[in-house]
Structure formats: C-alpha cells, structure tokens
Symmetry: C2
C-alpha cells in the first residue's frame, strides 16, 4: 500500500512518517484486533469485512515495517503477532478508543472496555511532564529539534514572527 | 471526505468511529499543524503541499465534526482553531510523533521537540491504571462493554473459546 500512496517521508516530521505506515483505517483496525488477541487471516477478514486482497496488502505492509511478525508452523495457518515495535502502539490504540468513547460513542456507553487485569478498573492515557504532572497542549511548547531540516526551521521561524 | 469513503460506523467500536473521522493522513497532519499554531488556509496549504480541493475538503470535515472552529472576522482571512474536542486529541498527536521518534526517525534525532513550557523537559505519554502505575498491553484486558452489540459479544465469546 505505501508503494501506491503519496509518500509523506519527505515531510520532516515523525508524525508524517508514522502516518505513512499506520495512518490507514484498515491498518489501524488490524492493529486494534491484534491487541484484542486475534491472530489469523480468517479472523481479521471476518471482523473487518474486507476483501482478501486488501487484507493481504495491509498485513504484508505491517510485517514489512516490523509491526507484526508472521509465523507459520508446519501444516498450520500462519499467525500474525505484534512485535515489540507493534506493542508500543498500545497507548495510541487506547487513546483512539477512549477519545471515541468520550466524544462520539453512542448513547449505550463504550462498546469495549480496556481495564487493568488485576483490579478491573479502567486504564487511562495521560501526557505528563518530567515531574509526573499531567499536562495539556497549553502547557507544552513545540520547537524544531536536532533532526529539523532548514525548511522546518524556516517554517517555525515564520510562525514565531506571526505569533 | 467521509461521505465518499466506506463508513466504519457499522463497526461497533469507538476506534472505528474515531478512525472514520480522523484516520486520514492529511487530516492528522492538519490537526498536528493546528497544535503547532498554524491557523490559516494558506499556511496549511504551504506546509502540506496539497491541493486546494483536498485541503478544503479536510478542513470542512474537521469543522463539521467539531474538531476545528472556523472564525472569520470581517475583511480578514478565516482562521481554524482547535475546539475542546480537538484539543483533546493532543495526547494522540504526541503519541504518534513520539512513536515515530522511537521507531522510525532518522539518524539526526527528532525533527520536532515537544516540551514542558516551564522546565523545557520532554513530556511523555503513558498508560496508567487507576492507582497511577504505568501499564502496558500485557497488564490489560479487553472485554465487551455496555454498548457492545450482539455481534461484538459473539466475536469476543469466540475469541475466548480459542484462547
């Protein structure tokens, strides 16, 4: 799939690069289902109701980028499991689910609960500063980092002049 | 844009509904730029290098769903600002950027720094349980909630039998 899409890699931004790999609705839903415990092609296909071709393409993309591992024991159906890189997407998946729960879920309450195994209480995602205090967008400043290109530096300089 | 795409609303999942609204690469990059402080059509267009038509479509979608507010003072260019619902996406934007920083950024280091205004230290996203302890996907269980449809209940029952 990324081969046929406009690549965002020329954008000097980790979000752009991330979105280029996982910013596709079916890809995100496959990752979600992998966290829910689904592992087989057939299960993903049933859950998502997509064609074999689209699912194969998305799974190959996820394996190629190191997010899913494909293992096939002899005579068994292949299984797809999240790698360490893939498991590191868990806070994002929870964030997407909980944002939807807060802002757009139906009147019946959350369709899915994501809870601590030990005490069955909800887990939650929070942005914190180095002292562990919750912060939001107004507490934070965004600035060019060591990997910024001249174009990125120029855009932020222009933004600072306008502000 | 959602009008011409396959709607995921029939999926009984807050992630599917969220992805249906914001799970588009340009939409996510517009939201990112709105957090960085960009507000005008021309700025988004320059930053993203997309056509007027695509940008108009994505901005209209974000306004329609209540993520951006469009204000136009007389004789001024309209400005697009994040609403409360939009600002609540900040942890997700930080999560996308930081996942990219960890797993796919270039050798030069992060292009963009997201830091606490007060002490200039990095902020970080973490999933925590109700006692404030960091948790990961292995500490968490996913189960049908009050808003689950019979189909969702059946799928999770099937998963439990296979596990």
């Amino acid at each position: 799939m990324p081969m046929t899409r406009t690549s965002l890699n020329h954008h000097n931004c980790s979000l752009a690069r991330t979105v280029d790999i996982i910013g596709d609705k079916w890809t995100l839903m496959i990752i979600r289902d992998a966290f829910y415990g689904f592992r087989r092609f057939k299960d993903f296909k049933t859950r998502l109701g997509i064609t074999q071709a689209v699912l194969s393409d998305r799974l190959a993309n996820l394996v190629e980028h190191g997010i899913l591992d494909r293992t096939a024991a002899e005579g068994q159906h292949p299984e797809y499991r999240l790698t360490e890189m893939g498991r590191d997407l868990f806070p994002l998946v929870v964030g997407l689910v909980q944002w939807g729960d807060r802002w757009i879920h139906g009147a019946n309450g959350p369709p899915i609960l994501i809870r601590d195994r030990v005490n069955a209480q909800p887990v939650s995602l929070a942005l914190r500063n180095s002292a562990g205090k919750p912060v939001d967008s107004s507490d934070v400043e965004v600035s060019p980092g060591p990997g910024a290109t001249p174009a990125t530096l120029a855009e932020f300089a222009r933004l600072a002049r306008h502000a």
